[in-house]
């Protein structure tokens, strides 16, 4: 059982292991996976085909993140096994996306069934609320406050893109907004990663 100050130190130690822009890179990949299928499907490919095109890109990028973390970041930060309390806290985080996915599917189904609710913005509710809830839960369970902001950004992207499409009549606006945000996240990730490399060096012990 940890005392209050130890909890703060543990939380600081835990969050220090997410340095190097990995959260931002992950956000970029997440948005890329949202934006690219929209472009493909609007270019005439089926929804399933579009998703299948994007999947290998996302998997390659995730593999790159994993390898960089394994061979560049961890040797610089050191290896740590966190306490069972932290591991239990992380396991609770897995439940949230599953419940959110189920809830979104139900809400999406209800909205689709009721023609009166088929509004351009109401239809975005599941898309907006899901990331806010999932990233909000991640921010809470991982003790990373910036994830609240990232969740809000991701949640607002879809309605913003749809809104911009109504004023600027172009079908590229929605995927453009999503991809632009994805590249902003990749940019932030790069800055964080370079800063990390400058701060930490491999220590021979």
């Amino acid at each position: 059982m940890l005392t209050l100050n130890e909890k703060k130190i543990e939380s600081r130690v835990f969050t220090s292991f997410f340095q190097g822009g990995f959260i931002e890179a992950f956000m970029g990949i997440f948005l890329l996976q949202l934006g690219l299928p929209v472009i493909f499907s609007r270019s005439g490919f089926g929804d399933m085909q579009s998703a299948l095109f994007v999947l290998p890109i996302a998997l390659i990028l995730l593999a790159v993140i994993f390898l960089v973390r394994r061979f560049v970041v961890i040797p610089r930060l050191g290896r740590v096994k966190f306490l069972p309390e932290r591991r239990r806290r992380l396991s609770k985080l897995i439940i949230v996306p599953i419940l959110t996915l189920i809830a979104s599917a139900i809400v999406g189904y209800i909205l689709n069934e009721n023609a009166s609710m088929r509004n351009i913005f109401i239809g975005q509710i599941p898309f907006s609320l899901s990331p806010i809830i999932v990233f909000g839960a991640a921010a809470y369970f991982l003790d990373m406050k910036r994830l609240y902001i990232y969740g809000a950004i991701v949640g607002l992207i879809m309605p913003l893109g749809k809104y911009l499409e109504t004023i600027i009549v172009s079908r590229d606006i929605l995927p453009g907004t999503i991809l632009f945000t994805a590249f902003v996240f990749f940019g932030i990730a790069t800055v964080f990663f370079v800063a990390f490399l400058k701060k930490y060096h491999v220590t021979k012990v």
Binding site: L2, V13, S16, G78, R79
Partner: protein, 111 residues
């Protein structure tokens, strides 16, 4: 009554574990108390100690039975893992308790 409490706490502090009281060792114990186990690089980064200083203090803590040092091979490279023992955890919490009691009395007296 309050004076007696203060005297008790001060005499408790006189019996404080000097092995834990050193800033470097206190930092090592603190950072090991919040994880199950960690390696030397983790401690170097978190405590800001030099390798020589860390090594000397780890040896003293290990000799006292406060930490456990396990050497293993990871990717064919030697890797040292450090872990707080039950004895070390108890010593660390006793130290915290004594310091808390002293500082708490000092604070309430200064109010």
């Amino acid at each position: 009554m309050e004076n007696r409490e203060a005297t008790d706490s001060i005499s408790e502090v006189m019996n404080i574990d000097r092995l834990v009281h050193s800033p470097a060792r206190l930092a090592i114990l603190t950072y090991l108390s919040v994880v199950e186990e960690g390696d030397a690089v983790y401690l170097l980064n978190q405590t800001g100690l030099t390798w020589g200083n860390l090594s000397a203090n780890v040896t003293r803590l290990q000799e006292a039975g406060y930490i456990e040092v396990n050497k293993e091979f990871k990717d064919k490279k030697p890797h040292t893992l450090l872990k707080l023992t039950d004895r070390g955890r108890k010593a660390f919490h006793d130290y915290q308790g004594k310091m808390d009691a002293l500082l708490h009395i000092k604070k309430s007296k200064s109010k």
